[in-house]
Amino acid sequence: MNSDKQIVSKVLVLDDASAHFDSMKAFYEECGLIGIRPQQTGVASVMSILKSNVDLGGIMLYENFGGKAGQGLELAREIHESRPELPIFLRRDAVASVAGLSEKDAGMFRCAYTLADLQQLRATLDSSIFSRVYPNDLVRGITEFTRTSLESLFANCDIDIETPYLVKDRIIYGEVFTMISIESNWCRGYMMFQASEDAVLDLVRRAAGSGGETWTFRELNNVLGELTNLVWGSFKNRYVGHNDSQAGQNQTQVPIIINHRSGYISFGSEDPQLCFKYVLRERNTPDAAPVPIYQRFVFNLNWSPEAFKENPTVESLVDSGELELF
């Protein structure tokens, strides 16, 4: 996707090991990254940068950044809470893995690496830094309105959003799968939600109370169908121009191939899919296992991010959910 263009991405470098700075700078340049460093290492300074830089592609974080053991981890938690869409790459002293971190902490990082072996980092950078391909405003917006939609349908759950990522594989997660086409003047493709039937069905049954005991996959289909509808509508309202002329034109299409036995779907192109993972945690049932729902976008029919723009906010529009009387 956009392989004919030289696209770079800015990364915030939170690594004060100055002895390695030159070699890391050269590595970033090889990978098409522009590293920027904060003037001060305090949390407030870093968070201030994050608020002012909305077009970062990621964070390069040293586990002991700031000079104290574990300080980098504390900073990672702040960053992840504030900007969950930003992938964080963790440099460690001893092991090139997230070994020793809690499951929740480990989930904040796209990968962990050591200076002795940068190959894994290079591979992960290629697949993770979405802003090389996707506008940050788009990625941020998708997570915002998808969270709102999930909260409206799963009112009993807290929603965690893991770092967005790119994949090139075509494996379908779980048994339940929804798909809807996305059409605009700057992109054409599909959005999908993928989930494990048992996990989500158990969740909606518990949310429905005694009336939900007899619910089957059909009720689950309806919930995920409505989720798809809500997110699709939000995408259109935010990113598809009201005067876009795609509708009604003779548009190209390609066959979509699904292999049920292999859990595989092909959209006829090698383009990566932009992926989001939402983890639903029942607020009043702490023992219940978290339920992941995967959202994937594949813009296989048209992708022209140079024409991407967000619809202007119209002052007269009422807030979502409220009644606008004519």
């Binding site: 509808n229 309202n237 959910g321 606008e324």
Partner: protein, 121 residues
């Protein structure tokens, strides 16, 4: 008591909106698409208000509204759209069909109910 017809192809929405309206003292009937909505409206003259989705199979909500006004000559029933759509062009089409209001999903019951009760009464 006034009857409200909720038209949506999603049973999740029909249940959510229907249950909320019932809990607020309103009588509710449901339909699964625009065609079903027309049939239900025709069969039950006590329906005073229609809350309808736009994008539905068989017949969309705007077409249903136009048929209610033009073919069925029903100018008294109030029609409100509950939809993910928010385009000015669609709203204009809705206004031309005599739609009274527009709600962008997700449904926010407390924000809507007071206005609905005014319309019904």
């Amino acid at each position: 008591m006034a009857q409200i017809l909720v038209v949506d192809d999603s049973s999740t929405v029909r249940n959510e909106v229907g249950d909320f309206l019932k809990a607020n003292g309103l009588l509710v009937t449901t339909a699964v698409d625009g065609k079903d909505g027309l049939d239900k409206l025709k069969a039950d003259p006590s329906i005073k208000l229609v809350v309808s989705d736009v994008n539905m199979p068989n017949m969309d909500g705007l077409t249903m509204a136009e048929k209610i006004r033009n073919e069925h000559k029903n100018s008294t029933v109030g029609i409100i759209m509950l939809t993910t759509e928010n385009s000015p062009a669609m709203k204009e089409r809705g206004k031309a069909a005599g739609i009274k209001g527009w709600i962008v999903k997700p449904f926010n019951g407390p924000a809507v109910i007071a206005t609905l009760q005014k319309l019904v009464n």
